[in-house]
Amino acid sequence: MASGNMSLNLKIWRQKSGEDQGKLVDYQVQNVSPDMSFLEMIDVLNEQLVRKGEDTIAFDHDCREGICGMCSMMIDGKAHGGFKNTTTCQVHMRHYKDGDTIVIEPFRARAFPVIKDLTVDRTAIDKVMMAGGYITASTGNAQDGNAVLIPKPIADEAMDAAACIACGACVASCPNSSGMLFMGAKISQLALLPQGKPESPKRALNMVQTHDNLGFGNCSTHAECEATCPKGISIEHIARMNREYLKAAFTYYDKKRSE
């Protein structure tokens, strides 16, 4: 029950604000228990810093159970530590051993500017969603939930895509800082479901355009995103997006869409 006895060397990115030049700073943290989560280990370090009257390390976190998508961090060069289907808050210290040196950096992408230390601004994801990551179904006019049948495999596949938590690990780990996986997941989810089909072409065109304008990179099919995605979302969804986009680019016609 007592705290453990691992001692770790941490190299943590410290940056006061977006305008500031940051650097890696060395820290030591003692009494780390293997049952601690990675974030609890940083909590311990922050408690030490408070006691010394120093500014604590800013990092995003909230639910600490792998679903809110707040936590981020590149741990030893890998998003969320690079464990399969795992967010940073779900990484436990039993994966590390006494004396290890761990480098911790923020997610890096032009579209995700650093706010402070390990905290980055991911509103670019919201902006991509705003461009079409929804079904226009205003409250009140929905028909019965069973009126349109959805075969189980289709519903399941849509759910696979919908599981995205928008943490941005795909962008952070992609050698191109591309946002294709989170965007593809949404486009794919809504293209699979009959409810989402009517808007599918417009959605694909607008979301892709917004994605590009925000400064995300392109897809080179490294599949590094799939490998680090804490929800295990497959790049098949990127392929479905590509199909939707291709169809839309050559067939979508809307007089009102001014270009």
Partner: protein, 226 residues
């Protein structure tokens, strides 16, 4: 409206990827044709030279085909360079101090695409200079005067450095296409759980056969002598 949709397509990341994929697959098709032609070297000078002669006798049509091929090559190259540059910029000014791959995604092949691509660019230029626009020997087969391409090729490969460079370039071609072919299918939206493993396998087989095929011929030519 149609133009604007196409415009949108060309300007978007996915549209450009489609074009890179399409041109890449066309180039892969060309390689298969080129390689089958090269195998005629094994059948002796006459077979090979006759093949070359038939191609030349296409006349204007050949220029159209060559021009098309050149265009496909340039589109592939130009867009790929542009995408690579954009990708570099997308990381932002501050790069990672310690970036590692998980080992489950990025491979050496996917990572090295821009580099193997550049090798292939240099290779293609040299290849055209050394062989296509190389020495002009003539020979006569079945009484017809024609260029002795067999001799040009065989002479070129007598230099071990030429062979080494050629084999290196073909390894790059294999690496480039091993990732490129499957990736092209993905970019074109043709990734589905049921087929993709087969597409990937096809991609590897293609890379080994084509890269290996070209490399084999260069080594064979070296030992065969003029």
């Amino acid at each position: 409206m149609i133009t604007s949709a196409v415009n949108h397509y060309y300007r978007s990341s996915i549209g450009r990827k489609h074009l890179v994929a399409l041109t890449g697959l066309l180039l892969c098709g060309f390689l298969v044709g080129h390689l089958s032609g090269n195998f005629l070297l094994l059948m002796g000078p006459d077979a090979f030279n006759l093949y070359g002669h038939r191609l030349f006798s296409l006349g204007a049509a050949l220029y159209v085909i060559e021009g098309g091929l050149g265009l496909v090559f340039l589109v592939h190259l130009g867009l790929a360079l542009r995408l690579t540059f954009e990708n570099y910029r997308a990381r932002g000014n501050q790069k990672y101090a310690a970036k590692k791959n998980t080992g489950r995604g990025t491979t050496f092949m996917s990572w090295s695409m821009p580099w193997t691509g550049l090798v292939l660019l240099v290779f293609t230029i040299l290849h055209l200079i050394n062989l296509k626009f190389g020495p002009y020997y003539t020979t006569s087969v079945e009484g017809i005067e024609m260029r002795d391409l067999y001799r040009v090729t065989m002479e070129y490969f007598q230099d071990p450095l030429h062979v080494a460079w050629y084999v290196f370039a073909m390894i790059c071609a294999a690496l480039h296409t091993a990732h490129g072919v499957a990736s092209a299918f993905q970019s074109l939206g043709l990734n589905h759980g049921r087929y993709y493993p087969k597409i990937k396998a096809f991609s590897y087989i293609y890379a080994v056969l084509v890269g290996g095929g070209f490399a084999f011929i260069s080594v064979w030519a070296h030992f065969q002598g003029v």
